[in-house]
């Protein structure tokens, strides 16, 4: 169809409604235009004829008030219910969605995955420094194991809840294939939960395009490079996801540990500081794998 295939659960519902709306409005569009052009043609000026004095017909007018009203009521009801089902998710304590935080700034997306605790820790814009780009508050234990990611990778068929925020101006988190769009607003976190249903590889096969990849774009005017504010999104199997996750580095570096008065792990003398940082967190990631449900 004219929309790219929906790759999320709620996206399929949206598309259903989209199709109903498309069909209804197309019928009206075509019918009214046929009427418009036929009337203008048939009733074009003719000296011999006189127009028909026909000021009103309450019956007809009532019909064409009530019928659109009914059709629109149906559309509103469908829209309202679907809208609720998208934005009012009931939390199931046994099957918590994966949490991912995305922070926008001119003109980039910063992604933060929770560490083994599954919780993305606190942050505060006042803590932003050149080393702590997001202003993560590492005195919050939940922050200490949070991971940097340079792309969004998600396991297929698992619910994920995005926490969105912005550092400077308003941007908008837009992933057309998943039928997701939500503004990122400085000072006000926003949330979007959804379940991707088609992996990138499956989509490559479906579209017949070996270069296909999902994209995250910015859809709210945000400045000079608004047109080029992107992130690749990959939907993968659960297994690939776990593998990928083990390779992600934590936000908390030794420098930041010092800045937050956290104990710096003892370094093996032979190695450089930054590699140490990675090595020291390795175990925690393995723990997280064990914890994954």
């Amino acid at each position: 169809m004219i929309l790219p295939e929906a790759a999320s659960e709620h996206g399929k519902k949206i598309d259903q409604m989209f199709e109903i709306t498309l069909i209804l409005t197309s019928i009206v569009f075509i019918a009214t235009h046929i009427v418009l052009f036929i009337f203008t043609y048939i009733y074009r000026y003719n000296k011999a004829r006189k127009a028909y004095y026909y000021p009103h017909n309450n019956m007809i007018e009532r019909i064409w008030t009530i019928v659109p009203a009914l059709v629109l009521t149906v559309l509103v009801l469908m829209g309202f219910l679907t809208w609720r089902s998208i934005f009012h998710k009931v939390e199931d304590p046994n099957n918590k969605p994966l949490s991912v935080e995305v922070t926008s700034s001119q003109f980039q997306w910063d992604i933060r995955y929770p560490g083994k605790d599954g919780i993305v820790g606190k942050k505060n814009y006042k803590l932003v420094t050149s080393t702590n780009n997001l202003g993560i508050d590492f005195s919050d234990r939940n922050s200490q194991d949070d991971l940097v990611a340079d792309e969004i990778v998600l396991p297929v068929n698992k619910a994920v809840r995005f926490t969105l925020g912005s550092k400077d101006v308003i941007h908008s988190f837009y992933m057309p294939h998943f039928r997701i769009q939500l503004n990122t607003v400085p000072g006000m976190p926003t949330y979007f939960e959804f379940t991707p249903t088609i992996t990138t590889d499956e989509m490559k096969a479906k579209t017949g395009d070996p270069n296909f990849h999902y994209v995250l774009l910015c859809s709210k005017i945000c400045g000079t490079n608004h047109f080029n504010m992107q992130k690749v999104v990959r939907i993968v199997s659960e297994k690939e996801y776990e593998e990928w996750l083990t390779n992600q580095k934590p936000y908390l570096t030794d420098d930041l540990r010092k800045a937050f008065n956290l104990p710096v792990p003892v370094t093996e003398p032979a190695k450089a500081a930054d590699t140490t940082a990675t090595a020291s967190v390795k175990p925690s990631i393995e723990n997280q794998l064990a914890l994954k449900k």
């Binding site: 519902k13 009733y43 028909y52 309202f80 609720r84 057309p176 000072g187 859809s219 005017i221 400045g223």
Partner: protein
């Protein structure tokens, strides 16, 4: 009232007014002259905004090509012959601002409310001619200030015509948010002041200065439309001023109404506690009514023109009025549909979806009534009529996609994409522009006493109509594919490359559409001086303005203001000799065509008619 009564007593010695060039053409207080000032300024602004759009369309179609001409024209904004991203955004922003506010609000309401309200309700001038003059000059100042931002170092405002903070509030965020934005805000305040002075005048003139017999239900639909538009403007424009003033405070005084939690690079901004969403609520509280402020006058003009040229009463006059009232009221409570995906409470989204889809009902009624007016008409394809029919077509095409966007769920995927650009250009841009052009062709004789050339007008219509669809219809598909709006180039995303050919088609169509406007401009200015002299009532129309002399005198009618006896839509009435009966013709002169319905329950008149019928045409007494 004093001005009016002076006119009343002085009307016979008009020739002896000592008018200087300055009082006649510049600081005129005559509503007809002010209307022309609004129209010509509006046309100039429209041409500027159109040229801006062609500039950025060139960038979209040929993002990797250099046009040395552009550098000569734009200097540092197009270094190396390529428009810069910041300047692209400035172009889009100023294009939108000019089109919406200066062309389709001031240019449209300013022209036709000023021209037609006194003429169609039967008044010598506006309630306050002086305020009316000020209204124009505030508008003019607003235009000059807005345009002046092209000549400053940091360039014009570039945060989009909706100027959302923080982007519009922090000069660091984009160069256009420096002085350019300040000028934008000042220009807007002047503009709102102008609109309010105009609006108050329109409302008081319509309420207080109708001629004898002109009760509300005898007013042409144009007057109803101007009246409700003015009411809507008076209710919503002040809210924009409030919003603008707070934004000025945030920008210049360091307050935090809209700002909080911001870091630019590593610089932590001191603002705390504000909300960018607040601006959006205030802006759209005007912004949505604004689109109806734009379209309702176009609806009124088209209704009138369609009835006149179909030689038929407008179908469902009462329904047309009630639907306008419905739109006016509802348009004040739907603004949230612009904010479905801002992160606003989802419950609110649900509420705004309901109100939004309700407003589609009166809009549908209007459309069906226009179609029914054409049915069994005897349609004269005057240029005005063609544009009015075009207006109906665009209103349908653009209105229907409103049903998609008004549905919060579908809007998730469509918001801020080219789908929206397609939608509002059809329903608000094209429909309103066509309504306005219809009005210009139709009332040109009333403004200038001459006729425009119809061959050039037909050329203008067909090229513009076809090209407008070619420009805006394809944009729907870009939006459905997920292409966001306000993108400087489609080069950075692979999935957008496939739209490059479409972009070229759109740009070429826009260029051709632009050239077609030359036909209009030539026709317009040439006909002012050299057009064929117009007869007094060239379209054989019923409304009062055509009872004034072609010479367009100060005070409008040489003698007494005529009395109104009937509604404005007695076209092709059975039994009447001619196919139109002006509002000034009393029923006593049209015994053969009167209907009992016409007397609105006046028993005496019905009795006289019954006796006449018994003598001349007994069958008519049976109805």
């Amino acid at each position: 009232m004093s001005t009016i009564s002076t006119h009343d007593t002085h009307h016979d010695d008009h020739g002896h007014h000592h008018e200087t060039f300055l009082t006649k053409y510049v600081f005129s207080q005559d509503h007809k002259m002010i209307a022309k000032q609004f129209l010509i300024t509006g046309i100039i602004m429209a041409v500027i905004a159109m040229i801006l759009s062609i500039l950025f369309r060139i960038q979209l179609a040929w993002p990797d090509q250099n046009f040395p001409l552009l550098e000569q024209l734009l200097g540092k904004w197009a270094e190396g012959g390529r428009i810069k991203p910041d300047f692209y955004l400035a172009l889009v922003t100023i294009h939108g601002t000019i089109m919406v506010f200066f062309v389709l609000t001031a240019g449209l309401s300013g022209t036709f409310s000023n021209l037609l309200i006194p003429l169609q309700v039967g008044a010598r001038d506006m309630a306050s001619p002086f305020l009316n003059m000020l209204s124009y000059w505030f508008f003019f100042a607003a235009c000059v200030i807005m345009m002046s931002s092209f000549f400053i170092q940091t360039g014009p405002a570039s945060a989009g015509w909706t100027v959302y903070p923080p982007l519009s509030a922090v000069p660091k965020a984009i160069p256009g948010s420096g002085l350019g934005m300040t000028l934008w805000l000042i220009s807007m305040i002047l503009f709102v002041a102008s609109s309010l002075m105009g609006g108050i005048n329109y409302v008081s003139t319509i309420l207080n200065m109708r001629t004898k017999g002109m009760d509300f239900w005898k007013m042409p639909l144009t007057i109803w439309a101007f009246f409700l538009t003015a009411v809507l403007g008076i209710l919503s424009f002040p809210v924009l001023v409030a919003g603008v003033v707070l934004l000025i405070f945030d920008r210049s005084v360091g307050t935090s109404f809209y700002l909080s939690d911001m870091v630019f690079g590593t610089q932590i901004m001191p603002n705390e506690g504000g909300s960018p969403i607040l601006w959006q609520h205030l802006f759209w509280f005007l912004g949505h009514p604004e689109v109806y402020i734009v379209i309702m006058p176009a609806m009124g003009l088209s209704s009138e023109i369609i009835a006149v040229n179909s030689r038929k009463p407008i179908f469902g006059y009462h329904a047309m009025v009630y639907s306008l009232i419905g739109i006016t009221v509802l348009s004040l409570i739907v603004w949230g549909h612009h904010m479905f995906v801002t992160g606003m409470n989802p419950f609110l989204g649900g509420v705004f979806m309901i109100t939004t889809l309700i407003i589609a009902v009166p809009s549908a009624v209007k459309t069906f009534n226009w179609l029914a007016t054409l049915w069994k008409g005897n349609i004269r394809f005057t240029p005005g009529m063609l544009f009015a029919i075009g207006m109906v077509s665009f209103f349908i095409s653009g209105g229907l996609t409103g049903i998609w966007l008004g549905n919060a769920t579908l809007d998730i995927n469509l918001h801020d994409t080219y789908f929206v650009v397609a939608h509002f250009h059809l329903v608000m841009g094209s429909a309103a522009i066509f309504g306005m052009l219809a009005g210009v062709y139709h009332w040109f004789p009333k403004m200038f006493g001459r006729l425009m050339d119809s061959k050039l007008a037909y050329l203008h219509f067909w090229v513009t109509f076809v090209c407008t669809y070619l420009v805006f219809f394809p944009l729907h598909f870009l939006g459905l594919d997920g292409v966001p709006r306000r993108y400087y180039a489609f080069t950075e995303f692979e999935f957008m490359h496939k739209w490059m050919t479409v972009n070229k088609l759109v740009t070429w169509s826009a260029i051709v559409a632009g050239l077609a406007q030359v036909a209009f401009l030539f026709n317009f200015f040439y006909s002012i001086f050299r057009g064929k002299r117009a007869p007094q009532n060239p379209w054989e129309s019923n409304t009062l303005e055509w009872t004034t002399p072609v010479e367009r005198i100060h005070g409008n009618w040489p003698g007494e203001i005529p009395t109104v006896h009937r509604w404005p839509y007695d076209y092709s009435k059975p039994g009447a000799e001619s196919d139109f009966i002006p509002q000034t013709v009393p029923f006593s002169e049209t015994m053969s065509s009167n209907l009992f319905h016409d007397f609105e329950g006046n028993a005496e008149a019905e009795q006289i008619q019954r006796e006449w019928n018994a003598k001349n045409d007994p069958s008519k007494n049976n109805e």
